[in-house]
């Protein structure tokens, strides 16, 4: 009898333990959950906290959002669903506020940077402008200087050229006339009654060659003249031959023949009276006219 009682008690205890433990388990299983939406709020907050541009810019707001999310995550019994909804709503808004405030501050920070960039750009532009102005000024200055020097140089060169030209003319003992430079080869430079050049003529003609090489654009007209002794035809022929003889010599000295023209004038253009011997001698001559350069 007593043993059965003990057995019964034991069985009762086992049953009780079983019931208790199963109760415990079901209690665990049906323990109130976090309200719906709380995990979404948490996710949003985590995203915000992990955003390197935003996380540090709204610390206070994020802390408030964190607190709100934690409240929203608190498990609530089923009958307090409205409270849970409210808490989730509050948490959502707080996270969104934190995000907006952080975004505002981020934009402000960017603006500062933007402003700095713009200032830098402006400064750069101004510096460049000043630099350009300076460059332009110095360029203008150097241009002016160059112009002056080139003008001076030009003037100097021109005067040098003129001087040289004059010295060449002097060397040729040429006469400056409207037709050009006139160089006269006198009668003494030709053999009597012949077109053959005498030794002295070559010195003068060599100077002429030098001059013509110096001024390659100048053309040369070679005219033969005589006195009135002898027939017109004879004199004409002789004057032409003398002129041609000069031309021939110049051509030999490699003066282009296109630059040379010859004519026999004869006795028609005396420079002195044929009445005296010295006058006649002056009239027997070859005139070499170096034409002035054609003006452009």
């Amino acid at each position: 009898m007593s043993t059965t009682t003990t057995q019964q008690v034991k069985r009762g205890t086992t049953l009780f333990a079983l019931v208790f433990s199963s109760l415990m388990i079901t209690a665990c299983a049906t323990a109130p959950d976090s309200p719906e939406g709380a995990s979404e709020a948490r996710n949003m907050l985590t995203t915000l906290q992990n955003d390197p541009n935003l996380a540090d810019r709204a610390r206070v707001e994020i802390r408030e959002a964190e607190a709100a999310v934690r409240v929203a995550e608190e498990p609530l019994p089923k009958d307090k669903a409205a409270l849970g909804e409210h808490r989730v709503y509050m948490a959502d808004q707080k996270v969104a506020i934190a995000e907006a405030r952080a975004a505002t501050r981020y934009a402000e920070a960017q603006r500062e940077q933007l402003g700095e960039q713009r200032d830098a750009a402006r400064l750069d532009a101004r510096t460049r402008e000043v630099g350009r102005a300076r460059d332009e000024a110095s360029k203008a200055r150097s241009d002016a200087e160059a112009a002056r020097t080139s003008k001076e140089e030009g003037a100097a060169a021109a005067s040098r050229q003129a001087a040289e030209y004059q010295s060449q003319i002097d060397a040729l003992q040429a006469e400056v006339t409207d037709r050009g430079l006139v160089l006269t080869l006198g009668d003494v430079l030709f053999s009597t009654g012949s077109a053959e050049l005498q030794g002295g003529a070559y010195r003068t003609l060599d100077k002429l060659v030098t001059f013509l090489n110096e001024y390659p654009e100048r053309r040369v007209q070679i005219e033969g003249h005589t006195d009135n002794v002898g027939s017109v035809e004879y004199n004409q022929e002789l004057s032409r031959e003398r002129a041609e003889s000069v031309s021939h010599y110049l051509a030999e000295q490699e003066i282009a023949s296109q630059r040379l023209s010859t004519s026999g004038i004869g006795m028609g253009q005396p420079v002195a009276s044929n009445d005296s011997a010295s006058g006649r001698q002056q009239n027997r001559r070859v005139e070499i006219i170096i034409e002035n350069p054609s003006r452009r």
């Binding site: 409210h86 509050m90 808004q93 707080k94 907006a100 934009a107 603006r111 460049r128």
Partner: protein, 133 residues
């Protein structure tokens, strides 16, 4: 004598207990029907300042929501659902605050865009002047 003191003390204690109970009961009765005035005021202030900041233009949806919540809170007050009224008032306040925050950030972004545009224009101009010989 000792007994009378004891009895008097016991009576006073009983009186205090009764008073405390009455206070608790009264306050319990009082909290239920009292309107969440502070929360409502806060919500109205938050909505007003959001409107002032220009939320109508930049965060219209949030502002609308705040106003709807406030209306709902006021209805709950008139129906004497005070707990609900308080929650709604708080929600109205928080969403109004969000409207303000989003307005600010929208304005800030707009200013940045504007600055970006003018910076680009400046860049463009500088490039042009830079090209000039």
């Amino acid at each position: 004598m000792y007994q009378s003191i004891n009895r008097r003390f016991g009576g006073r204690l009983r009186g205090y207990l009764g008073l405390a109970l009455a206070v608790i009961l009264v306050s319990a009765c009082a909290t239920a029907p009292v309107a969440p005035t502070a929360a409502l005021v806060e919500a109205r202030d938050a909505i007003a300042s959001a409107e002032q900041a220009g939320a109508r233009q930049h965060a219209g949806a949030e502002l609308d929501e705040a106003q709807q919540k406030l209306v709902a809170a006021e209805e709950a007050v008139s129906n004497e659902r005070m707990a609900e009224a308080e929650r709604l008032a708080r929600e109205a306040a928080v969403v109004a605050e969000l409207a303000s925050a989003r307005t600010e950030s929208a304005k800030a972004a707009e200013i940045n865009r504007e600055m970006g545009r003018s910076a680009d224009a400046l860049d463009e101009e500088m490039k042009r002047t830079g090209d000039r010989p």
